[in-house]
């Protein structure tokens, strides 16, 4: 069953959608059967390709549309949006770092 679903997301990462989150995104995307694409003002890229995601050069505040087509589209879309909403766990690590710093004199 082909279904197309999409959602708007905003890049919340301080350094934009850089290599590590792009890697996480592509990795997550590849878990799903559906075609997953990211659409910006100027281009449409394959969410399963880290190289293509990087070429978006999406900085903090960039608005993107996640468009998913395929049998498992709803679940896939939810998973991808979750990454954006959770800021790709970037904040967790910042927290770890900050915590680490406080213990060091």
């Amino acid at each position: 069953m082909q279904q197309v679903v999409s959602r708007d997301v905003v890049v919340g990462l301080k350094q934009g959608l850089h290599a590590r989150p792009a890697d996480m995104l592509a990795r997550e995307a590849r878990k799903w059967q559906s075609r997953i694409e990211l659409v910006s003002m100027s281009q449409r890229v394959d969410g399963k390709s880290i190289l293509e995601v990087l070429t978006l050069a999406a900085e903090e505040g960039t608005r993107l549309v996640v468009e998913v087509t395929g049998p498992d589209a709803t679940e896939a879309l939810a998973a991808i949006v979750r990454l954006f909403d959770g800021n790709f766990h970037e904040n967790d690590e910042t927290a770890v770092n900050t915590a680490g710093r406080t213990t060091t004199p």
Binding site: H18, A19, R20, D23, R27, K48, L51, L54
Partner: protein, 579 residues
Amino acid sequence: MLKLQGIAVSPGVTIGEALVLDSEGFRIPRRFVARSAVDTELERLATAVAETSREIERNRDAIQAELGGQYAAIFAAHLAMLHDAKLQAELTSAVRDKNFWPEYAVSRTLRRYAKVFQNLDNHIAQRAHDIYDIEKSLLRNLLGQRRETLAAISQPVIILAHNLTPSETANLDRRFVQGFATELGGPGSHTAIVAEGLEIPAVVGLGPFLADVSGGEPVILDGNQGVVILQPDEETIARYRLEVETARTVAARLDGLRDLPAETTDGVRIQVTGNIEFPSEVEQCLSRGCDGIGLYRTEFLYLTSPREPTEEDHFAAYSEVVRSIKNKPVVIRTLDLGADKMRTEKTPEEERNPCLGLRSIRLSLRQLPMFRTQLRAILRASAIGDVRILFPLVSTIVELRQARMVLADVMEDLAEHGIAFNPKMPVGMMVETPAAVIMLDAFIREVDFVSIGTNDLIQYTLAVDRGNKEVADLYNACDPAVLRQLRRSLDVAREAGVPANVCGQMSGSVMYTQLLLGLGLRQMSVPASAIPEIKQVCRSVSVAECRGIAERALAMDSAREVKAFLRDQMRRLLSESVA
């Protein structure tokens, strides 16, 4: 069409296919694979990807242990980029559908991505470095054991590189390397000297241009003018083809001079000897009818090996030269290098001005064991042929005496051990500092011959570093000050009855031949390739005419005037000889 201007260091014009060496020296030609070989080549590509992947994993694990996950994530991203399905599909298609050689497919595809990243105006532009990293690693694995050295080139090419070391240049296969052009480098560099020795047309110091070529395309290299033309149009190619053809005809005509002596029309015999760097060059000199080797530079023994050369290394090279030149004379010059160029040498302190620093005979006299090793080998070679020794960059009489004393000491040593040498081996000095010219009347009593090194003499007389672009135009063999240095040197030598030779670029250029003969020079030492032309000029002029030319040139007070005059004289001569 893109015309680049560099520095001409080795003459000749050639048209050929570009072969680009990147900074690590990989060859990445635009090569194609046969359809039948596509599957094997794809397998090779897959193996390289797997090996590169393992390398990145190893790096990731090492960094993980050392610095933690945050940093290791960078390598995880590298892995993701390498295994990116899009990238892999593109690579496969480049090999399967376009039949590109995998190396070329990798280089082309990854560089395209790198370019995209580079053009982004935020920090993701940094990812370009990651892509280059992956490219390097893939190429290293693809080329692997088969990594083709420059020496293994098997088809005619023109090499384009960031830089070539002297030893890389020395290993170029003359059968296939039509010429080379580099981004770095200057005149008088050892790479330049080697190129001339090997008779490979070369242009250096072009500045960055490699980004504009991918290899495989036609290139014109003009080693006479220092020009490289990328993507030449048909008209330009036709024009240069004609030039290559003409040069071939002239060379064939000059070939006929081989067995004729360099004798002027009024019967004065001129000795034309060759400058060499490697024993193999003796053959090139002999085939052009040289009168011996007037300058055998020995620096390469020191530059091409990671350790200091042994006495046997020296002797092997010297005896090969002596044997191949038969009974003709060979002038061996002792080490003429700066401490800064010696790999085995610790530079005592940062030298602010190596040209005026610890080099040549100064260095030899400081490093006596090294100097004695060379002297022993030269002396042993003197037992098997007409060997003469030449000390470079002598600037005080004390240095000359010290050098002679060390030589006498080494002779005593050899005699004690019953090792054969020529006790009357002629000893000469280079005249290449203003001090040597000024004091030549004193020096001349203590040497058997002198050799005027015009390259250094011009540099020191005019206080110009010719490698320095800002002042290089002041470096001019036509400068009246240089002409007077030469006149004085030749006059003093003649009065003392001591043979004088001129080596250096001035003697190898036909523009100066008449002037030098007119100043009284009777011996010149030139690169092998210049022997026929110089001979031809000698055979078409009279010493009487040359004297007139020298007198007129000496009466002029600016380099520009002298140059115009000499150029005019040369043109007149050439038009006569053609007619």
